[in-house]
Symmetry: C2
Amino acid sequence: MNLKITSDTTAKTSGNAAVPQKNIKTILKQLESDGIIGISVDCVIFGFDDNELKVLLIKSDLEKFDNKWSLLGDLVNNHEDLDQAAYRILKERTGLDDVYLEQVKAFGDVGRHPAARVVTIAYCSLINIEHHKLKITDNELHWHRVTTLSDMAFDHRQILDVCYEWLQKRIQEHPLGFSLLPKQFSLRELQNLYEAILDVKLDRRNFRKKFFSMELLEDTGELETDVPHRPGKLYKFNYEKYQKKERKKWFGIDF
Amino acid sequence: MNLKITSDTTAKTSGNAAVPQKNIKTILKQLESDGIIGISVDCVIFGFDDNELKVLLIKSDLEKFDNKWSLLGDLVNNHEDLDQAAYRILKERTGLDDVYLEQVKAFGDVGRHPAARVVTIAYCSLINIEHHKLKITDNELHWHRVTTLSDMAFDHRQILDVCYEWLQKRIQEHPLGFSLLPKQFSLRELQNLYEAILDVKLDRRNFRKKFFSMELLEDTGELETDVPHRPGKLYKFNYEKYQKKERKKWFGIDF
DNA sequence: ATTATAATGTGTAATTTGTACACAATTAGC
DNA sequence: GCTAATTGTGTACAAATTACACATTATAAT
């Protein structure tokens, strides 16, 4: 599920190929007049900063959605897998190629794109904002709070909502959250992350007890720096150990 | 999530339109030569019979996959939503239009279809085999055991695996399972269903206790018939009550 | 009618898991 | 050295899960 690929984006331009942004309208117009369904990928890129969940958005380039915010997406190249297309977009926009990325859902309602029939595959990506802070000097690319955000282009608000709910559920069952933090993190940071994403208040001692009992956090021996109080220990998540754990198929019926 | 729509399939034939089966190869050939990505929907239709999970398959009509089994699918019509396309296929093949249906995942690897580049959206459907037993006299349409099954066309084995795992997880968190049973069912039937799908053995008393404590099963006052032993009570699932329940966002971290 | 068979229906004790809660120890900043 | 702020830790209670056995009821065979 958790994909880590360095995508090769040297495919040729043909069909629904990746092309410079300014030609995309021409392609869509062509698709529409030919009665062809286009395929795109949209990336919901989450980051965590200032104890809040953020999403990376760009200003829409369609007149209809003037001044509205849009997810990062592009048409899928004829010679690349869907996952590769998502990686390509992510790399183009953030410069990162070693990130958590997972497909969430396809959105394909007839009227979702004003220019043509386009089915889009939504991907969810989690990145550490600190790591690429300098690279997003692009055109109108900005982080936005997930909770207070409206005026999105297309059906991107709906896509974002679905991905956010997906994340809330997923983070409790899989170790995704660490992708939003530095490699080394304090338990306080981890708890803040869970509290922000789930919008709940958790007991500090029980939270620690839970994570320690999983035995997947490694004490790095280092301490926080630059905090105006007693520094906490820094831990890192042990992915190898997690991978080796056998998955149980019985969780218990609960609905 | 749980969609129940009666699909309208009167759309015209244009572009990736729904067409008689024999023309599909022509369309694919055209797509390939034009460098266009096709979009299809594939339905993984599960049924439960003889205490085993079954899946509804058809013989592939491609030479390359001669004698291999294939999911039920079709190209997406230019004027229908993805969900509608899935419903259309389901209705065409089973005659049923009041069924559980949910999107699971898009599959779009470059080489997954031999004739052209085709991205497919996989849907999972759960139906009661008894209810439509007579309608599947179609060409080579048959139920297959999920566990002992190989030789599938395209990447359909992979799609089936993903959908089966999806089902195993989903059935523990959402009341899907009832769609595989008659409207009225005994607790034994329900437990058999869970045991078969999850491949686990469950304690009968604890299983009952769990379901009764949820207070979503209604005693119909009726009893099983045609069993060669003491008949069990028949229950039905109360969907209205379930819908009214508030969803909790905190389940507890566990991975 | 009697009996054998095969399942239903039920309760309790033991274990595990989750929750609520308070105080001493450590570091930075003044 | 004193204050402020946060870390680090344990225990008692509640809730949920698990393990487990026997009387009851209908059918089927005799």
